[in-house]
Structure formats: structure tokens, C-alpha cells
């Protein structure tokens, strides 16, 4: 017997112990534990990814809402009377879901007194989108939109205006004024305050007539936004008031 065979025999029992493997129970236990851990990891991962996406969306929507609100305030605040040849007042329409004003805000040459104001409209649609339109060609009207439509409490403006309206610009999406707190009792996007001829303080969401509209001194903007549709919190309320500088 060679030394090598002797060595082989003496080594064989030890190798058998080393190579005996794991039992089925151990395997199942290991798999179960691995499965649980993997599931937890995936759940955490998806939750965090979703959280990241939500956070990003909230941030973007919040930014847009903030910009929209600021833009509306500045533009409405600048409302001024049109030239004497136009038999209208600065606030041409004062409705719950839309407003039409004459303004020079952000218009080229507005530092010159000779630059006339232009028509600008903000309108909320049933798809939750708030759009801005303006008289881009200076012909005295906003083509492609109807500024005499009635819509309350349901929002029924034709969505085609978003494509055909002059100077159309999407300001912000996911506006839920039309369904908050309920469809039957929605929240007006605009609320108007002023003083009657006898000095009585008046507030309304719908003001008709040039005389009545000329009494408006401030426009309150209530922008209800669903930052993450389908997820809580249900909506965020941005509220601001534009004091009309040229009617005081």
C-alpha cells in the first residue's frame, strides 16, 4: 500500500462529511427567508420609487400652480379701462370659472402710455386644465373662444377651444374646483368683491353688467389642485387676491 493510497483512505470520510449538502428543510427555510427578504426589498424599492415619483410630481405641479397663481394675480391686478372707443370696462367678464380682462401686463411697449391694453382670458375646463388666452393679433377679440358661455356649477366649456383659442396656453392641470367639495357644490375659481353705489360691500362669484363690473375692486382666486390624482391629500388650496389698482 502506497503512502498515497493510505492518504486517500484517511481523507475519504472527511470529504464525505464536507459534501453531505443541506437537507430539504434547510433548503426550504433558506428559500423562504430569501423570498421574504426579497419581497421586503422589492416592496421598499417600489414604495420609495413611488414616493420619489410622487414627490417629483408634487414639486412640479406645485411650481406650475405657484407660477399660474402669480401670473393671474399680476395680470388681473393690472386690469385697466380700454380706450374710450370701446364701450366696455376693464373687467369684461366676471364668472365663476373664467375671467376676461383688459390688461397691459407683459405686453410689449407697456411702459409707454400709448400702448393700449389687450384682452386676456383665464378659463377652467372640465378636464381640470386651466388655460390662458389673449388677443394676440390686436383685433379687439380673442378668436376661437366664446366669452359669453354659461357654465355653473358644471363646467361645460368646449375642449376644442384649447386648440383653437387665440394665444392658447396651458397654465396648469389637475385643477379640481369643479368637483370640490362635490360636483353639485363646486368651488368657484374666481370670486369678486367691490362696493355698490351706496357703499355696501358686495362679494359674488358671478357679476353681470358693465356698471356692476365697474364696481369690482378685487378678485379672489381659489385654485384647488390635486397634486397627485388618486392619492391623499385630495387637493391643495392656493388662494390669492388681486387688488385692481386701476379701479381705486
Amino acid at each position: 500500500m502506497t503512502a498515497a493510497n493510505a492518504d486517500y483512505r484517511s481523507r475519504r470520510p472527511a470529504r464525505g462529511r464536507d459534501q453531505r449538502g443541506i437537507t430539504l428543510i434547510e433548503l426550504l427555510a433558506a428559500l423562504s427567508i430569501s423570498l421574504v427578504i426579497s419581497t421586503l426589498i422589492l416592496i421598499s424599492w417600489f414604495a420609495l420609487s413611488g414616493s420619489y415619483a410622487n414627490t417629483t410630481k408634487r414639486g412640479k405641479t406645485g411650481d406650475w400652480a405657484r407660477v399660474t397663481s402669480a401670473r393671474m394675480v399680476r395680470e388681473i391686478r393690472d386690469t385697466e379701462q380700454p380706450p374710450p372707443t370701446i364701450a366696455e370696462v376693464g373687467l369684461v367678464r366676471a364668472r365663476p370659472y373664467y375671467i376676461v380682462v383688459y390688461t397691459t401686463f407683459n405686453k410689449d411697449g407697456n411702459a409707454s402710455a400709448g400702448t393700449p391694453p389687450r384682452l386676456v382670458m383665464y378659463r377652467l375646463y372640465s378636464d381640470g386644465e386651466l388655460w390662458r388666452f389673449h388677443d394676440a393679433d390686436g383685433d379687439g377679440s380673442i378668436d376661437g373662444v366664446n366669452i359669453t358661455l354659461e357654465s355653473w356649477p358644471t363646467i361645460t366649456f368646449p375642449l376644442a377651444e384649447q386648440q383653437t383659442g387665440e394665444g392658447a396656453q396651458l397654465m396648469v392641470s389637475d385643477v379640481v374646483n369643479g368637483t370640490t367639495p362635490s360636483v353639485a357644490s363646486p368651488t368657484a375659481l374666481f370670486r369678486y368683491t367691490g362696493y355698490d353705489d351706496d357703499g355696501t360691500f358686495v362679494t359674488a362669484t358671478d357679476v353681470r353688467g358693465t356698471t356692476e363690473r365697474s364696481h369690482i375692486r378685487a378678485v379672489e382666486i381659489n385654485l384647488l389642485l390635486d397634486m397627485n390624482p388618486g392619492k391623499s391629500p385630495v387637493y391643495t388650496h392656493l388662494r390669492s387676491t388681486a387688488q385692481l389698482r386701476n379701479t381705486r
Binding site: 414616493s51 385697466e80 376693464g90 407697456n110 411702459a111 402710455a113
Partner: protein, 409 residues
């Protein structure tokens, strides 16, 4: 790392020259140790969790930073707008008292004083430009921003304010107009005295220099008696005299609210004095005291009743720019010399208009007694009364429908 170091150490041991059983045992130990070390997934789990947390943390940090930035921008924008409107108001207040009526009289807005009203921590200096800039120019056509005074004399100018706070700036433009202190004094009254009037020497002493509007009879109102010490009558022909209970009440001639308003305005513009010397030494102001001293709006109210002795030969005011001279607090006005005064004199005490040859062109109102001695005269001048209604500005206000927020420069 620890595993690699251990393996290296093991290999080094395996190459030892001793060999045999010892080498085999060492190899088994290494295998067992390696198996123990490599059987779990802890490192993978830890790395995964850390990665997930890192993503979440990055999202939160990004979102928070974004929100903070936007909030800061919005706050700065709001502040710059507020400062800009405050600058506009301050500019209007400044123009009320310093309306530039000529190229030479164009004053400068005190930007530094305005800046001092705002804390630097809450209203940081702008990254570029000035904290506040308030300018004005005349409403000419075509527009010319270089004409920084009311060159067409219509009482209107453009006022523009620009404010910079932090990274944000706001610029607002509006037209402003002067509003006047409307006194609405009654016409045709050369003298109103609450007490007696004594007229000595040559008569008459009260004349009409410029007649009142048609239909108005020039009338002297004396609450007491008219005492003439000499020959003739105190007033020239055509001037009516009312005495006693027939006179118009003082509230209809020079009402108390007007006294208070003029006093308040004089205090605002530095034309309120407590002594005669202080008033006589006062400087020229293009609007409120065109010739300095007693000219323009001048209110003297000594703390205790005394005698204001006015004399000299200067011409004080003009028919086009009449003045209002008021002596309050019960002091006596003793007017002498050869001075020619245009406008209205109001005295709460007595008035002694004597000696010399001085003339009052306009109207005199005295609460109590009035003495006319020597050769001084009162010459009713309707132009002086009429021109007082657009003589002193009361405020500068915005012209409606001219307010615009424009692009900052």
C-alpha cells in the same frame, strides 16, 4: 477585504515547507471559514436598503431644496413688489411738497433714507441695481423721460418706481397729479373783524383794487363798531359795511377747519414757526415760500401771546402767487413799514395796522379788534383770493387707469 486578506494569509501558510497533515487541516479550516462567511445575503440586503434610502433621501433633498428655492423666490418677489409700491407712495408724498415747477427746482428723492426704513436681513440688497429708484418725468407727447419737471404746467407727471430685493425686482409706472388746497374763501370781503375797527387819519383806508365777480358786493364785516377818527368814511364808495349781528359768521369766511388744515400743512412743510425771528429767517422754498421769510404759507404761533412786529419795505408775494400769513395763539400783529403784502392775513388776536404806508392786497381776517392808523390801506384784490385756490398743493394722487407693472430695467 477581510476575506481577501484571509485568503492571502492562508495561501502563504499553505506554501510553508512543513506540508503533510498540517497542510490538510489548514485547508479544511479555511474551507469551513469561507463557507461560514459566504453563506448569507446580508451585504446584498444592506447595499440594497442603503441604495433605496439614498434614492429616497436624494428625492427629499431635491424636493426640499426646490421648494425652498421657489418659496424664497416668491417671498422676494412679493417683497420687491411691496417695496416698489411703498416707493411709489413715498414718491407721491415727496412730490406733494416738492413738485418740480422748473428745471432748476427738480429735487431728488431720498433713496438712502427710504432704504433705512427696511431691515437689511429681511429685505436684502438686490443682486444688481438699486434697492429703490423713484423717478418722474413730464407727461409730454412724445414721451421724454429726461424732462424731470412739470414743463407743460398741467399738474401731471409720470412717476416710476423700481425696487430690487434679493434676486427679484419690480417696476411700476403710474401717472400722478397734483391736487390743490381749495380754500374756497368768500369773495368781496376785504376785512372781517370780530371786534371793533378803529380807523384813524386819512380816510378812506379800504379800497377795491380788483373787483369781485359780477353780482358780488364788496363788503366789510365788523362784529363790533366802526370807529372813524377823522373825516370821511373808512371805505371808498361802492364798498358796503356790515356790523354787529349782520355780519357773516367767521365759519363762513375763514372756518376753523381751514385754520387747522393750513396749520397742519405748514407743520408738514416746515412753514410753522413759534417766533417771528424764526419765520423771517426761513429759507426760500419754490412752492411754499418763493421769497423766503414771511412769503408763501407762513404760520406763527408763539407759545405765549406776544406781539408780532412786522415792518420793512419788501414786497411779500404777488398777485399770481399770493400767500397766507397766519398769527395764531392770541398774539397781536403789528404791521408797519412800507411792505406790500399780497394774499390773506389771518390773526387770532388783535391786529394793529399802523404807521408807514404798507398795503394789504387781498383780504384780512381778525378775530377781535382791528386798528387802522396812519396811511396804510387794505386793497381788496379778487385775483389774490381766486389764485389761492390753486396756490398750495394738498396731495399728489394717482391718476386712475394709469397704473402698470412693467419690465424692470
Amino acid at each position: 477585504m477581510r476575506t481577501e486578506a484571509g485568503e492571502g494569509h492562508t495561501e502563504a501558510q499553505g506554501r510553508r515547507p512543513h506540508g503533510g497533515e498540517r497542510t490538510m487541516r489548514s485547508a479544511k479550516k479555511v474551507d469551513a471559514a469561507r463557507a461560514r462567511r459566504q453563506r448569507g445575503a446580508g451585504l446584498v440586503v444592506v447595499i440594497t436598503v442603503i441604495a433605496a434610502l439614498a434614492v429616497s433621501a436624494a428625492a427629499i433633498v431635491t424636493f426640499t431644496g426646490n421648494v425652498q428655492h421657489n418659496t424664497s423666490t416668491t417671498r422676494m418677489k412679493t417683497k420687491s413688489f411691496a417695496v416698489c409700491e411703498a416707493g411709489l407712495e413715498a414718491g407721491m408724498a415727496f412730490l406733494t411738497n416738492s413738485w418740480p415747477v422748473s428745471a432748476d427746482s427738480a429735487a431728488t428723492f431720498d433713496s438712502d433714507g427710504f432704504r433705512d426704513r427696511f431691515s437689511a436681513s429681511e429685505f436684502p440688497d438686490p443682486e444688481t441695481g438699486e434697492f429703490i429708484a423713484v423717478d418722474w418725468y413730464d407727461d409730454l407727447s412724445p414721451e421724454d423721460p429726461d424732462v424731470a419737471w412739470d414743463s407743460n404746467g398741467n399738474g401731471m407727471m409720470w412717476l416710476v418706481a423700481q425696487a430690487g430685493v434679493g434676486s427679484q425686482a419690480t417696476r411700476v409706472l403710474t401717472m400722478v397729479e397734483r391736487t390743490w388746497f381749495t380754500m374756497a374763501l368768500p369773495r368781496g370781503i376785504p376785512l372781517w373783524a370780530g371786534g371793533d375797527v378803529e380807523s384813524r387819519g386819512d380816510q378812506p383806508k379800504i379800497f377795491v383794487e380788483v373787483s369781485p365777480p359780477e353780482g358780488v358786493v364788496t363788503t366789510v364785516h365788523v362784529g363790533g363798531d366802526i370807529l372813524v377818527n377823522g373825516t370821511g368814511t373808512m371805505t371808498e364808495a361802492g364798498i358796503s359795511q356790515k356790523t354787529g349781528g349782520d355780519i357773516s359768521p367767521l365759519d363762513q369766511v375763514f372756518p376753523q377747519w381751514l385754520v387747522e388744515a393750513l396749520k397742519l400743512k405748514a407743520q408738514e412743510v416746515g412753514r410753522y414757526f413759534t417766533s417771528q425771528e424764526e419765520a423771517e429767517d426761513s429759507p426760500v422754498d419754490p412752492v411754499w415760500s418763493p421769497w423766503g421769510g414771511l412769503s408763501g404759507l407762513c404760520v406763527i404761533e408763539p407759545p405765549t401771546p406776544t406781539t408780532i412786529l412786522a415792518y420793512g419795505g419788501a414786497t411779500i408775494n404777488t398777485e399770481e402767487q399770493p400767500g397766507v400769513f397766519m398769527v395764531l395763539g392770541g398774539s397781536t400783529l403789528d404791521w408797519r413799514g412800507t411792505a406790500q403784502f399780497y394774499g390773506v392775513i389771518y390773526v387770532e388776536g388783535t391786529c394793529d395796522f399802523s404807521r408807514g404806508t404798507a398795503d394789504l392786497h387781498g383780504m384780512t381776517v381778525v378775530n377781535t379788534d382791528y386798528g387802522l392808523k396812519g396811511t396804510p390801506d387794505i386793497r381788496y384784490n379778487d385775483n389774490c383770493i381766486a389764485n389761492l385756490d390753486e396756490r398750495f398743493p394738498s396731495a399728489t394722487r394717482r391718476v386712475q387707469n394709469t397704473w402698470r407693472e412693467i419690465q424692470p430695467e
